[in-house]
Symmetry: C2
Subunit: 311 residues, 2 copies
């Protein structure tokens, strides 16, 4: 039995996530013509669900797609996936795919495809291995560059990850846990599924451009304000990382995760930073207290206006 069982939704029906698959002839596979979002659920509550839905809509817009469901319907479906999977801590993925070309053709006019909405909930996981997420990540600045927004706009959350995967091999082969990719201009961009933060005195800095504008990254701005840190987005080169007091990565898949080593040098004394740990604790404490949360249970019923869909 897989550790990552979960429940998926497609075409008005719920099914085990292991049974949810995509035809090789579907452009969602053959052109990676799909956008998505990933929302975390902790203690039975979604975090910043409205922000995720807004970003999901923006991703769809960017690739000329429209989900066939309203936000209320999609949130209901996502809640149903979590509930039916019996999960209290989960990651929920919402996907919009182009849809098949007419008559099952391999090629066709993408303007006339019926865009499809898919969702699934799986047990919560961290974007880096759990031990690293807790005790410290060893990051590696990769040679492979992140595809530029002019080609693949990273603000539209997508699965075009060949650059990330190649960079991951670079990091793993160097004995590190995860890569950090620069833009083609040489500025730090992001890693696979996470944004970067560095702390320097009372300043908290995060890369500015050519990256997914993470919801957790956005949350760190709020946490910094509360902790009396001045947070800002800036163009950062690898050299700018050298004099960081502390460093952490952030993701819906793991929250705030300390970075304790960069390339072949420890960050600070090589242990998770004190301010990083404070921000992380603040993040989880505030979530427990209901900050930006939406209870899964509150979304299980659909208003009468939305009764047409399954569930």
């Amino acid at each position: 039995m897989s550790e990552h069982t979960g429940i998926a939704f497609r075409d008005g029906a719920y099914l085990p996530v292991e049974d949810l698959s995509i035809s090789v002839l579907d452009p969602a596979f053959s052109c990676s013509d799909v956008v998505f979002d990933a929302v975390s659920v902790s203690d039975g509550a979604f975090f910043r669900l409205d922000d995720h839905m807004a970003r999901f809509r923006a991703s769809c817009d960017h690739v000329y797609m429209t989900s066939p469901y309203s936000d209320a319907e999609m949130m209901h479906i996502m809640a149903q996936c979590v509930d039916r999977a019996g999960l209290s801590d989960a990651l929920v993925l919402a996907l919009c795919t182009r849809g098949r070309f007419s008559d099952g053709h391999v090629k066709g006019d993408p303007r006339f495809c019926e865009n499809e909405f898919i969702a699934y909930a799986v047990p919560y996981y961290t974007t880096v291995p759990e031990s690293c997420a807790r005790d410290g990540v060893h990051l590696w600045v990769a040679e492979t560059r992140r595809a530029p927004n002019a080609a693949i706009d990273q603000r539209a959350k997508n699965f075009n990850r060949m650059d990330l995967t190649r960079a991951q091999f670079e990091a793993l082969n160097a004995g590190a846990d995860a890569p950090l990719l620069c833009s083609t201009e040489g500025y730090i961009a992001e890693g696979p599924g996470f944004n970067l933060w560095l702390l320097r005195g009372r300043e908290a800095l995060t890369p500015r451009d050519n990256l997914l504008e993470g919801i957790t990254r956005k949350t760190v701005f709020d946490l910094c304000a509360e902790a009396g840190l001045e947070a800002k987005a800036a163009d950062l080169t690898p050299a700018d990382l050298d004099d960081a007091d502390e460093m952490f990565i952030c993701s819906s898949a793991g929250g705030l995760m300390p970075v304790t080593r960069l390339n072949d040098k420890p960050i600070g004394n090589g242990a998770p930073g004190i301010t990083t740990s404070q921000l992380r604790d603040l993040y989880w404490r505030k979530r427990t207290e209901g900050w930006y949360t939406t209870a899964v249970a509150d979304l299980l019923e659909l208003s009468p206006a939305h009764r047409a869909i399954a569930g």
Copy 2:
């Protein structure tokens, strides 16, 4: 019944291509962690199969993958797909995927995945609509750029096509048939599934960098030599296209296809070019005569050393 029925191979078994699908949890979908090649079959014979297999191996190497089968075994499988589909004109796709993470996990160390080989044969199709492929393509220079090799090396044939799809919308919305994408440096790169050629006097020019080095593109070098044209790869800007006498695109999915309109201007008199037509005729005539061909029938038997696999 779909027009694009075909036969696929996976895990030692042959099945209808419509039944071949990829789990949403498979990194081949969730990270587009897959490389491929596409070989044309005409009159029961593969074209330049050895070149395609060599490029497929290079694509696999680039993403740190190894097909579990030898070249002889893969060619046998691909021939079986064509034969079992009853096709004499086909496109055959060979894919290598990363494979699932251990224990069905959503995340994991890609170095320890078992890479998988998949193949399928479908009826021959052209990368632009058939009428354009025959009568002339209207190309559109897109604003969206082709992802640079430093991020996603286009010499490794891949499905990371968000840039191509966005550019295709630009072209279709402008009333054109297909887009032409420039590199981030502003040089013409390629379009979705095709390379570009322009003819100027006795010179034939094709973009040099940041593109799939097409097998048909390579073939055009041979055809030009035979036709007394001087073919070369060069850095070309959109402005360099303005004084072309003729223009065509090339692909395993369609061969040589005339371009008759670029942005809002006709090429030459707006009809397929005479030299383009001669080169196209030469291409198909030479294939009919057995140039670089391998009969499907000759690959249906495996040597005793390869008997372990299905088929």
